[in-house]
């Protein structure tokens, strides 16, 4: 993401409340927060960072519809067209007449598609799919520390002192290569 001439400052925090307050202060100054790394979800952080609301619900709905369609075409193809079977004296001539028997399949595949594809969407959208290079600038954020990446648009020194004031325990210029 980082263009070559953009300087990014890392601020490390050891408390989620301090981090949240810091995020708010930085945003009030009109500075751009590139990313925040945290070992656990911090309540209200997404709002404070001004992140857009997730659209994964819409994706999940689409995946569910896809699963439902798959289940309908699968039962139709297998049990009506290809190999009609008379199970328990139930009519197998039309899909509609046998529909109640297919409802569990429709339900399960809807849930299966929605759940699994949603997980993979989440992985790819957040670049944490298997084989992906770790983006984390500081391994301590997987334990008990929080890290905020701020894009420096002007005086880097001033930004660093501001971040110190917000309660950061370490502030440094990010030299890591960003994907």
């Amino acid at each position: 993401m980082a263009t070559t001439n953009q300087i990014i400052v890392n601020a490390l925090y050891d408390d989620d409340d301090v981090l949240l307050a810091g995020v708010k202060q930085v945003r009030e100054k009109g500075l751009e927060i590139q990313e925040v790394y945290s070992p656990f979800p911090v309540h209200g952080l997404d709002k404070a960072m001004g992140l857009k609301e997730t659209r994964i619900a819409i994706a999940a709905f689409m995946y569910g519809l896809l699963g439902l369609t798959t289940a309908i075409s699968m039962t139709y193809g297998m049990l009506i067209i290809d190999w009609p079977m008379n199970i328990g004296g139930k009519p197998s001539f039309t899909w509609g007449e046998n529909m109640p028997a297919f409802v569990p399949i429709m339900f399960e595949l809807t849930v299966f598609f929605a759940a699994h594809l949603m997980v993979w969407t989440f992985f790819f959208r957040n670049k944490i799919y298997p084989g992906c290079k770790a983006q984390n600038p500081d391994p301590r954020t997987t334990d008990d520390k929080f890290l905020m990446e701020v894009v420096s648009s002007g005086d880097t020194e001033e930004l660093m002192s501001l971040l110190k004031q917000t309660g950061a325990i370490e502030v440094s210029v990010n030299n890591a290569e960003h994907a």
Binding site: H43, G44, A57, F61, G88, G89, K90, P91, E97, P100, A101, V103, P104
Partner: protein, 470 residues
């Protein structure tokens, strides 16, 4: 403190009056029907004959596959065992005529049972939900507890009506034959009413035991509601150890949940499933519970929305509303899951003694049956699916009305076919009685709500609930 406005009080009185007129009229109309019982009986017989003939017609076509999707085929199959199918068929026309006469007489009683059970469901579900909040020491619902207490105070009203229906049925008063197994001589061998299958259930289904059971259920529920209310009011007094009081309420709540687990299922078998005495479903208790729970959560939502609209409950924020709406959405799906599980197993196994239950509903109640499924599943799911609609009063209110009416219709479909037969349909009398119970609900619930502050400020979880945010 909530003030019961005189306008709302007037509305509730008017609704109660409408209900009283409807009930009174239903009993008067039921009485006048005695005169044409003979002709009615014949008519009923003719229709059963008409159903009979297609069953015979399939017999000659041995070369062709039987049309198994034809309901009359199943009817024919089940008629092969007359004693299994006592209710819908019988060898003599006189017996049929008697049934038809009873079914006509049952109408006012069945109407009362439908409405009082629906009303009871709302109070009982709220009590379950409230006990759950204490047993699990839930934080977010504290701002709703006083509203729940108000709703639970309503249980005794429909409970009393149900007891009246049971006792009049036991002593054959007022033409009450809602419970077919209470018929005279039905368990006495040699009697013309004798039914061997029903007689086999005598150990469980008999007047005294049935009445005692019903009294135990109601006493337990009303007692638990009273106890939780009393302990909750203790939170308003000074010099009380609030934490200890809360811990004690946890025990009461947990104890009640055990009692409720047993009695909710048993009351469903007793009061509703025993109407179709031959038929049974092991899922029935859960199925009725899902109706109870989703109706009461919806009623809770409606009361909360009303109070918020009047400027009360400022502590109830969007997150609380969102979470109750999630409950409405989730338990609508839960209801559908149980409804379908019961339906599909019976449809698939196609055992005559089981499948008659759904044939009655398919043949005679088709429109209501499918309307009910649409109202209870398709509407709530589509309306309440998105996050935004769960936070929008208009959407929630629309979904709430649909869910409440849908579950009223669900109870209607559970009770009517077995008690009044094929002639049941939603009439103005049913709607009027429903309005009467709504009036009683408003009167009793808001009278309780106004007696105590709307917020339990000394509840240990109050602050957490006030700051609830999702």
């Amino acid at each position: 403190m909530f003030e019961f406005s005189s306008r709302l009080k007037t509305i509730s009185y008017v609704l109660i009056l409408i209900g009283a007129i409807s009930v009174g009229f239903s009993f008067l109309a039921g009485g006048s029907d005695h005169h044409d019982e003979a002709s009615h009986g014949e008519g009923e017989h003719a229709t059963t004959e008409a159903h009979h003939s297609p069953a015979a017609s399939h017999a000659h076509g041995h070369d062709a596959m039987p049309k198994t999707d034809d309901f009359s085929y199943h009817k024919g199959a089940s008629r092969a065992i007359p004693k299994n199918n006592h209710f819908y068929t019988s060898p003599n026309a006189e017996h049929d005529a008697e049934h038809a006469h009873h079914q006509e007489q049952n109408k006012p009683w069945a109407n009362l049972l439908v409405n009082s059970f629906f009303a009871l469901a709302i109070g009982l579900g709220a009590l379950f939900f409230m006990a759950l909040q204490y047993a699990a020491q839930v934080g977010w619902t504290v701002v709703l507890l006083r509203v729940l207490e108000g709703i639970t105070s309503f249980i005794w009203v429909p409970g009393l009506v149900i007891l009246i229906i049971i006792v009049t049925g036991w002593f054959h008063l007022g033409g009450n034959h809602v419970y077919h197994w209470m018929a005279e001589g039905i368990m006495i061998p040699g009697s013309e009413n004798y039914d061997s299958i029903i007689a086999g259930k005598e150990g469980y289904l008999n007047g005294p035991f049935f009445t005692i059971r019903s009294i135990i259920y109601l006493a337990g529920w009303i007692g638990a509601a009273f106890l939780l209310r009393k302990m909750s009011l203790k939170m308003e007094q000074s010099g009380v150890d609030y934490n200890q009081n809360w811990a004690k309420m946890r025990n009461v709540g947990a104890g009640f949940l055990v009692f409720f687990a047993v009695t909710s299922s048993m009351s469903a078998w007793d009061w509703i499933m025993s109407i179709d005495t031959h038929w049974f479903s092991t899922l029935f208790g859960w199925y009725v519970f899902s109706t109870i729970f989703v109706s009461s959560l919806t009623a809770l939502m409606m009361v909360v929305l009303y109070l918020k609209g009047k400027g009360y409950l400022p502590e109830v924020n969007k997150s609380h509303i969102h979470d109750i709406a999630k409950f409405m959405f989730a338990f609508s799906i839960f209801w559908t899951y149980l409804w379908f599980s019961q339906y599909m197993l019976i449809w698939y196994s196609n055992i005559p003694e089981e499948v008659t239950y759904y044939m009655m509903r398919f043949d005679e109640y088709k429109v209501l049956f499918f309307t009910m499924v649409a109202l209870n599943f398709i509407f709530p799911v589509t309306i309440l699916m998105s996050r935004d609609s769960k936070r929008n009063r208009g959407f929630i209110f629309t979904a709430g009305i649909i869910i409440l009416f849908g579950h009223w219709l669900d109870i209607f479909i559970m009770i009517m076919p077995g008690s009044v037969g094929a002639s049941g349909s939603v009439t103005l009398i049913n709607m009027g009685t429903l309005l009467g119970f709504v009036g009683l609900f408003i009167l009793v619930v808001f009278n309780t709500i106004k007696k105590a502050p709307l917020m339990i400020k000394n509840h240990p979880m109050f602050v957490e609930s006030k700051h609830f945010h999702i």
